[in-house]
């Protein structure tokens, strides 16, 4: 047999193209005669639009069209609420262009279409808008009070959603508790900041009646459905292509952004291709953000450290609109107990409207916040009970024998009961302790302190529900001419290496090299059934769909090859792009088998001669294709997970704090990680490392600085501090591979894993480092030098 590809560090198929500069991102698609879009955006967080005058802008040379809400016809409605949920009363979504009120700085007010972007921006600056500013409240807690200014006049107290979930009997647990610890923690607002901002281009073909849209989206199939619906076109007449996409991290899963509707509209109205390439400032102002939550969490414990109950109440900032429903808050609330048994849980949240751009998932999607809350609470509990931080976790982790571990009463983001399916949590914790050198750390710490250096050990465990449904599909076809294998699925990729991991899965079934498997996704004309790339689900859901499909094709190949080579099917083995009779030199190449499986009239090449009507092997005793038989070697199948599968891990770090400069330096970072069977460890490590870097950003640097008037003061990469290589320490990753029983490949998702625990690790480590100055508390991330300075000042240092 060929070497097994599943599990191998296969280099990526897509890399040569990207490295040579031959990638095709939306703005790279050549569209002759394209017109370009710029938006006029609101400079006010809350205001009433009194008047808009576009006359000067319309006269500006090079302008093709200007649209306000009055000019967009049927599009002037609130955009879809993607995930309805009964906890939301009067859920608000925005219109493509503001009508009446504006609700955040950056909201789109008018759209200019011009010969180039420079001209479009000039014209946007010439549009005169008269605003009557309205009062506003940026503070999440104050926004809920009775006299707070409202983001939406008809939503009292700015309350977007209120939801309570209970598992077990938390009241009883708190009544039985021998110790209760309580802590309030906060995670601040951040943004995905993908290196490629969002981009949409559209071409309307009036002759064929087809609309083609290139959209850097994570969900082209959903965008197609939405566009067909909005423009009242047959779905088959709308093609949405997500070409190469420069990172997404959740920000590109939302639909619709205003441009995703308005650009196709303009292309249809003007009869010319139209492009909108978001710039970096717009990405900060107009594309989704996440993270702000304030949790007050209580743990009910026995003196042994066993946690028997958890109560968490949190506020979730949803921005001015809630198009993605309560997904972020729901994921946070269902991840709140982490990897711990904690059998009794009450978790309640209020989602609050604030006059800021909408909040929808950003890598992690509520998990970093939940992890920060539970892990900081566990640290505090350990301290209060005089227990070691590793020990208190060890006493509470779900044990291997306890899986599957259900949390009755908690529904995950897929609408199904939270059930942690598998893992070796205790082993992961032990590995982290060993890799960190935890046993000897106290001595190391003491020695450093004697030298005037402040070292701390940070620690956090996390879980990640991955691989959400509803389903994905796979199509696998062996091409009769080249013998190469073509694979399609309904996802799109933003750099995760789908084309390689899916190729590895197929290669094992068909005995071909992964380089001969060509994966095409992100194009509704290539595969039109499926959902999207989000929630660490691609490998789990599409991976298993493609695996199932490849097995069907494998069986077809074996059956056809057995006929051609005149042996029993169990005598056939597949390797080196051919079917071989075991223990012999007899073989048939896959291309030949595919050709022979397709009865032909025309011999368009030499191989094809074998499949034509007068060739020796052709059938003459019935129809060339038997009833129910299909030509070629291909299949389509689907995988729909029974429920999410839960990955987990333990992160730790040795952190040095300079109490003079109030700076934090990560000296050593350790990640123990288990995502079940790894299809490609190199790609898994890449995902984890990238996540950790984003986590470090979120833990120490990335803070969207909204002013009291709702303006974002750091809407640039100069001021919003995404880490460079200089901020990222070396990381040691150790893998555990505990296969999930829930799917045939035994895989769990990994996309979001890296970022979840980092904030908790850093805060834990900084507290530990500064312990000689007193019991300083760090309950908020990003953890800035100012916070350290204030904490030190508070204890008189």
């Amino acid at each position: 047999m060929s070497t097994r590809q599943f599990g191998a560090r296969v280099e990526r198929n897509i890399d040569p193209k990207l490295l040579r500069g031959e990638g095709a991102f939306v703005d790279d698609i050549p569209l002759p005669d394209a017109l370009h879009v710029a938006f006029l955006r609101s400079p006010h967080a809350r205001a009433r639009i009194v008047a808009i005058d576009t006359s000067a802008a319309k006269r500006y040379p090079g302008v093709a069209a200007i649209y306000t809400s009055d000019d967009i016809g049927a599009l002037d409605v609130e955009m879809p609420l993607l995930i309805p949920h009964p906890s939301m009363k009067n859920p608000k979504t925005q219109r493509p262009l503001a009508r009446g009120d504006v609700h955040y700085v950056g909201q789109t007010v008018a759209m200019v279409v011009a010969v180039d972007r420079y001209t479009a921006e000039d014209a946007a600056a010439l549009i005169e808008v008269e605003y009557a500013p309205l009062p506003l409240e940026m503070d999440l807690t104050k926004a809920l009070t009775d006299d707070a200014p409202l983001v939406h006049a008809d939503v009292p107290n700015n309350l977007a959603a209120h939801f309570v979930q209970t598992s077990g009997n938390p009241d009883d647990a708190f009544a039985r508790a021998e110790h209760v610890t309580r802590i309030t923690v906060q995670v601040d607002r951040s943004t995905a900041a993908p290196m490629e901002c969002r981009a949409v281009a559209a071409r309307w073909d009036a002759v064929s009646g087809e609309l083609t849209v290139w959209d850097g989206t994570q969900t082209p199939i959903s965008v197609r459905g939405g566009l067909a619906s909005v423009f009242e076109l047959d779905e088959d007449k709308v093609r949405v292509i997500a070409p190469d996409v420069g990172g997404g991290f959740g920000q590109k899963v939302l639909l619709f952004y205003p441009d995703e509707l308005l650009v196709p509209m303009a292309a249809m109205r003007l009869g010319r291709p139209v492009k909108y390439i978001e710039d970096r400032r717009e990405n900060f102002l107009g594309s989704s953000q996440e993270r702000t939550q304030i949790h007050t969490i209580e743990l009910a414990a026995l003196r042994t450290g066993e946690v028997i109950g958890l109560r968490d109440f949190f506020l979730h900032d949803t921005g001015a609109f809630i198009p993605y429903g309560i997904a972020v808050a729901q994921v946070a609330s269902t991840s709140i107990a982490g990897p711990y048994r904690i059998p009794n849980i009450l978790v309640e949240f209020k989602a609050v409207y604030t006059p800021t751009v909408q909040v929808t998932p950003y890598r992690g999607c509520g998990r970093p916040q939940a992890c920060f809350a539970i892990e900081r609470a566990m640290d505090q509990l350990a301290e209060e009970l005089g227990l070691d931080r590793f020990e208190i976790r060890r006493r509470n982790l779900i044990e291997e024998s306890q899986f599957p571990y259900a949390r009755e009463g908690l529904l995950f983001a897929d609408g199904l009961k939270v059930t942690l399916d598998s893992g070796r949590y205790g082993k992961a914790l032990a590995m982290a302790a060993a890799e960190l050198g935890a046993e000897n750390f106290a001595a190391e710490q003491a020695k450093a302190r004697a030298e005037g250096r402040y070292l701390g050990l940070g620690l956090a465990c996390y879980v990640e529900g991955t691989g959400l449904g509803p389903y994905e599909g796979g199509h696998v076809k062996i091409h009769p001419i080249t013998g190469k294998v073509y694979v399609n699925t309904g996802l799109s990729t933003q750099g995760q290496g789908h084309d390689t991991v899916f190729a590895q899965i197929v290669a094992d079934q068909l005995g071909v090299s992964p380089q001969d498997v060509i994966v095409v996704e992100g194009d509704t004309k290539a595969f039109e059934w499926g959902v999207a790339t989000f929630a660490s689900r691609a490998a789990v859901v599409s991976g298993n769909a493609i695996h199932k499909t490849a097995i069907i094709v494998r069986n077809k190949v074996i059956e056809a090859a057995a006929n051609m080579l005149d042996v029993d099917p169990d005598q056939i083995e597949l390797r080196d792009s051919a079917a071989w009779v075991k223990g012999s030199n007899r073989f048939a190449p896959l291309a030949a088998i595919a050709t022979a499986s397709n009865p032909l009239r025309y011999a368009f090449n030499k191989a094809a001669q074998a499949a034509t009507q007068f060739a020796p092997a052709s059938k003459h005793d019935g129809p060339p294709l038997a009833d129910g038989q299909a030509p070629g070697l291909e299949a389509t199948d689907y995988y729909s997970p029974s429920r999410s599968t839960w990955a987990y891990g333990v992160h730790g770090a040795i952190i040095e704090v300079d109490p003079g400069l109030c700076t934090v330096k990560i000296r050593k970072y350790v990640c123990i990680h288990d995502c079940g069977n790894m299809i490609n460890p190199m790609i898994v490590e890449g995902q984890v490392l990238g996540g950790i870097a984003q986590g470090i950003g979120g833990a120490l640097y990335e803070h969207l600085d909204y002013q009291a008037d709702g303006n974002l003061a750091n809407a640039s990469l100069m001021d919003f501090l995404v880490p460079y290589a200089t901020e990222i320490p070396n990381v040691s990753i150790l893998h555990l591979e505990t296969p999930t029983p829930l799917n045939p490949l035994g895989v769990k998702g990994v996309g979001e894993a890296g970022c979840i625990a980092v904030g908790a690790v850093v805060a834990s480590g900084v507290e530990d480092a500064l312990r000689p100055f007193g019991a300083l508390k760090f309950h908020q991330v990003p953890l800035s030098p100012n916070m350290i300075s204030r904490a030190l000042e508070a204890v008189g240092c």
């Binding site: 900041a193 993908p194 003007l270 970096r280 990238g690 200089t726």
Partner: protein
């Protein structure tokens, strides 16, 4: 949708134009362009060399890095007219004509130094510029981080890029 009359659409802006000539990837090019056209737009949209990417348009992310007379420079902070008479090299010139990857590109592939690939051309151009300078390379953890400190990557967490720089030095006999 019913067929509608084609709208009257202007075909040009009122921007003053200027003739620019430069050498791009070894070839002499001349175009007449708006005086305010960025070099990045000139390369991408006038010449169709879309491998140079634009990530921030304020000189922070490094995606748009090209070589200007052999030195790494930000094409998003350079006007096309400023590049008049200069020798420009873009990512499209790095691999061999038959597509064989340059050692720096090969190292990125071997070390999984890229994910979405959007920052990659700028990273590669910056590294190539450094490798073309004479003298000893500082391949310490700190030295490589310093070399990469003008390029943002949001996918990889940089460590594989650091490994790729070391691997490239090996492949080029510069280790």
């Amino acid at each position: 949708m019913a067929r509608t009359m084609r709208a009257a659409i202007p075909d040009r802006s009122a921007d003053p134009e200027v003739d620019v000539s430069m050498t791009v990837n070894g070839e002499a090019v001349s175009r007449t362009v708006s005086v305010r056209m960025l070099l990045s737009d000139f390369l991408r949209h006038e010449l169709g060399l879309t491998g140079t990417h634009v990530g921030c348009e304020h000189g922070v992310c490094g995606c748009c890095t090209v070589l200007i007379d052999g030195r790494a420079g930000r094409s998003c902070l350079t006007l096309a007219v400023q590049a008049n008479g200069y020798d420009i090299r873009t990512i499209e010139s790095v691999a061999a004509a038959d597509g064989t990857l340059h050692p720096v590109q090969q190292a990125f592939k071997e070390c999984h130094g890229l994910q979405c690939g959007y920052c990659t051309p700028g990273m590669v151009m910056n590294i190539v510029a450094r490798f073309e300078e004479p003298g000893k390379l500082d391949l310490s953890d700190e030295g490589i981080r310093d070399l990469l400190s003008g390029n943002l990557c949001r996918c990889t967490g940089y460590l594989n890029i650091i490994a790729a720089v070391r691997r490239a030095a090996e492949l080029l006999g510069r280790a």
